[in-house]
């Protein structure tokens, strides 16, 4: 009797709707959802950088600060990974004093607001372009001693052009050669960025998250659904388009109800679940 009871329970679990659950980093807490954490009071901002120890590169977070006359400012930043200085001096409003400085999106991390030394300036300049979702659209760029790198390159372009003009007395030739000199400097920083991509791309939060999600769909889901159909009525964020990419070769069902019984991918409490098709009735010889 007991053995039959256990067998029935196991059978029930196997035939139940609830099958698999996968934790995907809790989908991460997108910026703005976590509470801002106050990191400094009455902080001097002029000429200072923000040092943050953040475990994973590529995480979006906000920096808030409030001026003494209670004006609030906010900037969106991307973590570099590990302990790194963030050059807030590039923002014209990062000046004078702040009555309070907050971080949102990182939780409790070690931070400080301090004067950068030469090593910090070099670290800021050589921090590679992060590999994030917006990289394909626009780059964040570099700063050197708080000056945008492209502004410095424009200066190099101008100076080189002037030098060449003094020799050749031809504007078109001087502009061309001056540009090639400045562009060569850009090429060097681009190579450093590309080396950074190769070194860190697999370790940034967005790449890890996307990679894990793709693995789950391409592996677990594709294996379970094999020979069947699937549907994804509830997926509207990045998991939705990853699902449709990884399962593009598996028949999709737009009508999950009725006679068409697909496997369903659903989200509950920010976790992905794969639900099997509904039972089609008892098979002879089995009991509940």
């Amino acid at each position: 009797m007991k053995r039959r009871g256990l067998k029935s329970m196991g059978s029930f679990l196997l035939r139940s709707w609830f099958v698999l659950a996968v934790l995907l980093f809790g989908a991460g807490a997108p910026p703005g959802h976590a509470q801002p954490v106050r990191i400094a009071n009455d902080a001097v901002l002029d000429g200072n950088v923000l040092d943050i120890e953040a475990p994973l590169a590529g995480t979006r977070f906000f920096v808030y600060w409030e001026s003494p006359d209670r004006i609030r400012y906010r900037t969106l930043e991307i973590t570099h990974g590990g302990s790194a200085p963030y050059d807030m001096r590039k923002y014209p409003v990062w000046k004078d004093k702040a009555s309070a400085v907050f971080l949102e999106g990182l939780g409790e991390v070690r931070t400080s607001i301090r004067k950068p030394d030469l090593a910090d300036e070099w670290g800021i300049f050589t921090t590679p372009e992060p590999w994030i979702m917006s990289t394909v659209n626009a780059l964040l760029g570099h700063t050197l001693f708080s000056f945008p790198w492209e502004n410095l390159l424009a200066l190099v372009f101008l100076i080189s052009t002037a030098v060449f003009f003094s020799f050749y007395r031809r504007w078109f030739l001087s502009v061309t050669l001056g540009f090639l000199v400045a562009w060569s400097f850009l090429y060097v920083t681009t190579v450093a960025d590309e080396a950074g991509f190769l070194r860190y791309a697999g370790k940034t939060r967005p790449v890890l998250l996307i990679g894990k999600t793709k693995e789950w769909f391409a592996g677990t889901v594709a294996d379970r659904v094999k020979g069947g159909k699937w549907s994804d009525g509830q997926l509207s964020d990045f998991r939705g388009y990853i699902a449709r990419y990884e399962l593009a070769e598996v028949p999709f069902s737009a009508a999950p109800e009725g006679t068409d019984q697909p496997w369903r991918i659903v989200i509950r409490q920010n976790r992905l679940f794969l639900e099997p098709p509904a039972e089609r009735g008892e098979r002879p010889g089995e009991t509940r």
């Binding site: 372009e129 590999w131 979702m133 917006s134 990289t135 394909v136 659209n137 626009a138 780059l139 964040l140 760029g141 570099h142 945008p148 790198w149 492209e150 502004n151 390159l153 424009a154 372009f157 031809r170 504007w171 078109f172 030739l173 502009v175 061309t176 540009f179 090639l180 400045a182 562009w183 850009l186 090429y187 681009t190 190579v191 960025d193 590309e194 991509f197 190769l198 791309a201 697999g202 967005p206 790449v207 996307i210 990679g211 793709k214 990045f238 388009y241 990853i242 449709r244 990419y245 593009a248 070769e249 598996v250 028949p251 999709f252 737009a254």
Partner: protein, 460 residues
């Protein structure tokens, strides 16, 4: 991954086989190796369109690729048999130091691209939806239909109004590879990157005869930061750049049919081509007609034939446009209305001209146009190229400043990718102006030809 890489190479030769017989119909003096790059582009445009038509006719994807492979092999065989064709080859010459440096730079870029393709998954949203998502649906066959009543009409992911050039390109590569993976999903970006760089080198070499200038042009177009990113991103913008650059190079070589084909290719790869490439190319082609010193002078019957050839090539786009019209597919995600945004110019200045994405590239373009402006206007080809670039940039900026697409300038989601599509053309136009000035103002004792031989040339 090895099979995928082999499939990538095989597909390049498949496209070459389809495009070369056509490219040979319009022989023109110049550098023979140029025929390879233009043939691959032309073959890619023709091949993907042919596969699209075969799919519409109910032929399977595998069969369609098989038919085209046979056609490509037959085409190449006939070329060799009928006219004793010689394979286009790059001229032999000893490498200059700056060319060796350029090759090292390009080798580094290609290694980076291959490393990213091998080590990282397909990552960006549009690549997983509009481009490779639809390509994979097409390849799989089960989530694809050409019936507008089907829930999987033109795939079940991505925008349906996006043209099918890229999805067909990638799906056919997956057929050759025997399966899909994230390498196939993006590797054509490497092909387009190589084609852009090579086309610019050949074009600048053709009109300048100066190897150092050609090397400089290739260096400039190969190294913008966004260029290598888009070679691995899986988007369609670099494809538009490749076809646009190829079309301009074909026009400079007076290959009218090829130029029209490649112009069609810009819009077959992405809708942007319809606005930023096709109209300026038609204008440039028109300005190149006539035999007088200025545009539209001494027009003859031959000019009518040339324009007819160009438009015939452009008609490659007709099947897709007809299909879109029948199924009511537009060219934008939603209704786009005109709306003037004066604040757009400040954003353009800060992000495009002075921003990190393009760095000083567009400042250089403006500086060259200003210093060489008069030279362009005194030369018929220069005038055509100047008008082409100005129109392309103007149309691009119009969309972002005077329509609802301003949002994509404001959030920088699309503006930089659109400007990337103009990189190759901008470099060709700039270096053409530089060549005009060099020929005119600096006495030329000798000019290196593509074969490495020098010939005396008097002061321009």
């Amino acid at each position: 991954m090895t099979a995928s890489f082999a499939a990538l190479i095989a597909q390049v030769f498949l496209w070459f086989g389809l495009g070369w017989p056509l490219s040979r119909q319009e022989p023109s003096p110049g550098i023979r190796g140029e025929a390879f790059t233009l043939s691959v582009l032309a073959g890619g445009g023709i091949g993907t369109t042919a596969i699209f038509l075969l799919l519409l006719a109910g032929v399977s994807l595998k069969m369609s690729v098989g038919v085209l492979s046979a056609a490509a092999a037959a085409g190449v065989f006939l070329c060799f048999r009928n006219r004793g064709a010689v394979m286009p080859r790059t001229p032999s010459f000893s490498l200059k130091w700056y060319e060796a440096v350029l090759l090292l730079i390009l080798a580094g870029k290609i290694l980076f691209i291959l490393a990213v393709l091998w080590q990282t998954p397909l990552y960006f949203e549009d690549a997983m939806t509009h481009w490779s998502g639809r390509a994979r649906s097409l390849f799989g066959g089960v989530n694809w239909s050409f019936d507008s009543a089907s829930p999987v009409f033109l795939g079940f992911t991505g925008a349906k109004h996006y043209p099918l050039g890229i999805p067909v390109w990638r799906a056919s590569a997956a057929v050759i590879a025997g399966g899909w993976d994230d390498f196939i999903a993006r590797a054509d970006g490497l092909v387009f990157y190589g084609l852009v760089v090579a086309t610019v080198w050949f074009a600048v070499m053709r009109f300048s005869g100066r190897r150092w200038l050609a090397a400089a042009g290739a260096f400039v177009v190969a190294t913008p930061p966004l260029q290598a990113i888009h070679a691995v991103a899986g988007y369609g913008d670099i494809a538009v750049e490749a076809f646009f650059t190829g079309s301009v190079a074909a026009l400079l070589g007076r290959k009218w049919l090829l130029a029209g084909l490649l112009a069609a290719g810009t819009a077959w790869m992405k809708n942007d081509g319809l606005v930023i490439a096709v109209p300026p190319l038609i204008a440039a082609a028109g300005l190149l007609l006539g035999s007088g010193s200025g545009p539209f002078r001494a027009l003859g019957k031959e000019d009518g034939r040339k324009m007819l050839l160009f438009l015939s090539g452009l008609s490659l786009l007709a099947p897709w446009l007809i299909f879109k019209a029948i199924h009511g597919l537009g060219v934008t995600p939603g209704g786009q209305s005109l709306s003037w945004h004066p604040e757009a110019w400040r954003i353009l200045l800060d992000t495009v001209l002075l921003g990190p994405t393009h760095s000083i590239f567009w400042i250089f373009v403006i500086a060259v146009l200003l210093t060489c402006g008069g030279a362009y206007l005194r030369d018929r080809q220069g005038t055509a190229l100047l008008v082409l670039l100005v129109l392309s940039v103007a149309f691009s900026l119009f969309v972002f400043t005077c329509t609802d697409a301003f949002l994509f300038l404001q959030n920088q989601m699309t503006i930089h990718r659109t400007m990337l599509q103009l990189y190759g053309v901008a470099v060709i136009v700039c270096f053409y102006g530089i060549t005009l000035k060099l020929d005119r103002t600096i006495p030329l004792a000798a000019k290196e030809s593509g074969t490495g031989k020098t010939r005396k040339r008097g002061k321009a």
